[in-house]
Symmetry: C2
Subunit: 216 residues, 2 copies
Amino acid sequence: MALSTVSATQLIDSYQWRYAVKRFDPSKQIDAVTWAAIEKSLVLTPSSFGLQPWKFLVVRSPEVKAKLPAISWNQTQPGDCSHMVVFAARKTVDEAYVDAFIAQAAEKRGVTAEALVGYRNVIVGFLKNTTGRHMVWSSNQAYIALGQLLASAAVLGVDACPMEGIVALEYDKLLGLEGSDYATVVGCALGYRHPEDHYASMAKVRFDATEVIQYL
Amino acid sequence: MALSTVSATQLIDSYQWRYAVKRFDPSKQIDAVTWAAIEKSLVLTPSSFGLQPWKFLVVRSPEVKAKLPAISWNQTQPGDCSHMVVFAARKTVDEAYVDAFIAQAAEKRGVTAEALVGYRNVIVGFLKNTTGRHMVWSSNQAYIALGQLLASAAVLGVDACPMEGIVALEYDKLLGLEGSDYATVVGCALGYRHPEDHYASMAKVRFDATEVIQYL
């Protein structure tokens, strides 16, 4: 397959265009085709061993969105955006979860689960060696999804605001995660910037490449 | 500025095209223009408060690359790829670091550091409340960079292999991070797939959208 690629200039223009939106335009919604691509970006995110130890909760209901600012340090983005994505990570990754994953991998690849037993055992060994640290590890994977989501939104021309400033335990309660195998890690509001959001025109602040990148 | 956006189809085609490369073609190198875009993707990665608590080490030297498989569970990708990116996160984020960041933000935005004192104090308050957990937090930020890098590589048509299976302490030693404020978190090999890497043609394994995405 000949892949149609994006030019270096176009990619960087997209990253220069994006910023952490402070004020969304509540009248503008992400259309269905664009949202389908963003959803697919989440589903296709790479993860360690391919284990996908996450759930993505997408808040669209005006009633639920209206409750979010109060549990987000009064930030307005979760209420005014089009789609509020909440990244939840799996607290403990056990053998049953690995077996479910291996069963699906076997099905998708047209082999038996027995043929993947070596791969399964490597994963189970890793998880045993990291007992008690699964939530840190699965949270890391959720942050890969956040990074890919931010890049996807930028190249699609969709605005975003990544949000660590949410009260995770309150999100868990509101979104029905309490008592489940997953817990809220971070959020990302998606939609379109309000024309009066003056943060849009502020200079981007980044260390120079020479300060953060070292070649060996 | 009218942003030139990528179509939903093109973005998803790129994500379907990518896979975790097992065998790179050591004869193929990323050209300078494409690499410049990837470097910029790293530099422009969003982070919490904009603090960028990371360093990106890029291994190009054949001598250094040759030493990497032995400290990567004998995986060949770090040795055969074009550019091996190592993500290092800041172990402790102190007030001096925040002040350096605020000084730069003030300069880029043409205001005084005093004008940003409210912002500075919010950040310092957050860091005090998370004492002892800075490395987890800064590692999360590094994973955003990994996610954005993987997306960037995909749309540029560059192959990648994200690599948690590296011996971080050995990477720290080899790359000169030992005793510094930064520690190795994760790696990502970049370059071009070997024509005989049979993983390229294997079906992608992902849970269905209905299993990982919940709408509210």
